[in-house]
């Protein structure tokens, strides 16, 4: 099998239990080389367990995992130098200085990145001599990412990379992950932030209760769904009975909700008929639209449809 075209990660029928609680329930998924793949799901969905099995921390109880063609348990020593792992939290001595920790991890690798450059890119310059325990949550996260990257891995596993970061640090981290991908590193990230998955991922695997419930590009997942959202804002207040009359005009399977005197939210089939029906209704009822906007279906909507639950609180 040619190494370049084979998947970076193959998870096949993975089952993991803690006591009688099933964390991962027959999960199968693949990660293409050179891609950014997001594993998306609520807390407790089995994301971290799956990742830690790929990283060789846990032995599959059933099913198999192959990473870069290797068995993470049996071929651990060959695999570990080739992957970078960012843990969800911790991973440094409490008294170690940020830069000292990064330099230490660098020394374990054959061709590490320049730690000065890496500190600079991740905004760790001004806290380089701060002990780990005094770093902010966001600084600890960025140091964690730096430690995962410093060995120049082929494959990077990042668990909730931007948890605890402020918006500016999140953007910097996203830009960095995009650059890493452009330089040929395969990235697997877990997240429960939909915007993160939408922005970064080539492929999204949505998992819930240890099972894969949907896979695809963000565009594939959000396209061709059951509904679109149209927001209609008009110049003068709607006439009495407007929502009912619009619902009748649109027919079955449509929901119309009046938000205030001049705006309404319409959810219905995502096709051009819906939009043209709304504008015809406006003409017939002598209502002048100020704005008429069609909302894209988001991953949030997809998740809600698939699981009946909100992803983010």
């Amino acid at each position: 099998m040619p190494a370049a075209s084979s998947p970076a990660v193959v998870v096949d029928g993975l089952v993991m239990r803690y006591g009688d609680k099933v964390a991962v329930d027959g999960l199968s998924l693949e990660v293409a080389r050179g891609s950014v793949t997001a594993v998306l799901g609520p807390n407790g969905a089995g994301k971290t367990t799956t990742l830690e099995t790929c990283e060789g921390y846990r032995k599959p109880q059933s099913g198999s995992v192959r990473v870069l063609g290797l068995d993470p348990q049996r071929d651990r020593r060959d695999l570990l130098p080739r992957i970078g792992v960012m843990l969800q939290s911790g991973g440094a001595w409490s008294g170690v200085r940020a830069r000292e920790m990064l330099d230490h991890v660098a020394r374990l690798h054959a061709h590490p990145l320049d730690t000065g450059m890496l500190s600079d890119r991740l905004g760790l310059d001004d806290c380089g001599s701060t002990p780990y325990r005094r770093l902010s949550g966001g600084q600890q996260q960025r140091l964690g990412l730096a430690m995962a990257l410093v060995g120049r891995p082929e494959l990077l596993f990042v668990d909730e990379p931007t948890a605890g970061m402020d918006p500016a640090a999140r953007r910097t981290t996203w830009e960095l992950l995009e650059e890493i991908r452009a330089d040929g590193v395969t990235v697997v990230l877990t997240t429960h932030h939909l915007d993160e998955a939408e922005r970064l991922a080539d492929t999204v695997h949505i998992i819930d209760r240890g099972r894969l419930i949907a896979s695809g590009t963000p565009a594939e997942l959000t396209r061709g769904g059951r509904s679109a959202t149209i927001r209609l804002v008009v110049t003068r207040p709607f006439p009495d009975g407007a929502p009912e009359s619009l619902r009748i005009a649109l027919g079955e399977g449509t929901e119309v909700r009046q938000l205030d005197a001049v705006s309404m939210l319409i959810s219905g089939p995502a096709d051009s008929t819906t939009l043209s029906t709304v504008s015809r209704w406006c003409e017939e009822h002598d209502v002048l639209p100020e704005s008429l906007s069609l909302g894209q279906r988001t991953l949030e909507d997809v998740f809600l449809e698939l699981t009946g639950r909100e992803l983010e609180p």
């Binding site: 843990l87 911790g90 000292e100 230490h104 054959a110 120049r152 650059e179 452009a182 330089d183 590193v185």
Partner: protein
Amino acid sequence: MSGTFAPSPGAAPLARQVLAQATMETRLLLRNGEQLLLAVVIPVIVLVGGVAAIDRIGLDLPHRPVDALTPGVLALAVMSTAFTSLAIATGFERRYGVIKRLGSSPLPRHGLLLGKVGALVLVELAQLVVLGGVALALGWDPHPSYAGTMAAVVLGTAAFASLGLFVAGVLRAEATLALANLVYLLLTAGGAVVVPAAEYGALGEVAVWLPSGALGEAMRAALLEARVDATALVVLAVWAVAGTVLTARTFRWE
């Protein structure tokens, strides 16, 4: 592929990784005030205070006070580093996820262990320099069996380190901290480390079978009488094997 982050993975040679780990752990240990207290300050106080006390009370010993006390103080230093410091440091490494983090780095587990051994050796050398210096300043005049001293230090370190790792591998960090300090205090007071087992009476009969008593006796035999105390060395070796087996069976990396 080119670019800043273009993959170029690989592990550093094992020797370089072990050296990095050993120097890192040594630095962290010497930076920690409590550990430094245990490693150097307490043994120095025991040595200086003990010599002064014996002089004042006017005990009639077969050896000069500084000659009688120094071997036991060196044994105490080995015990504090190999057992208490190692257990506490390792307990908190588990707690803070350091061992987990290093578990996904190129550093293999035996490399991590070798790094810890290297750190122990470096700290013990520093202790020897400081404590030996203080003892010489007090007029210490050793007549050592070098083989006996080396064997006692190596086997004593192995015995205490394996027991320290055992404690750190099964208990939570706080419990390890408490137990490692408690055991250190109990063994210092009643374990025949500094004071010869013969001075304890009946308790001494038991103490020579403890790693603390065996190490103390082996050091005194080697440094006071230029003698190799084979019984004490065997006792230390048995503790080292028992500790290693226990650790290997029970240690949890996370």
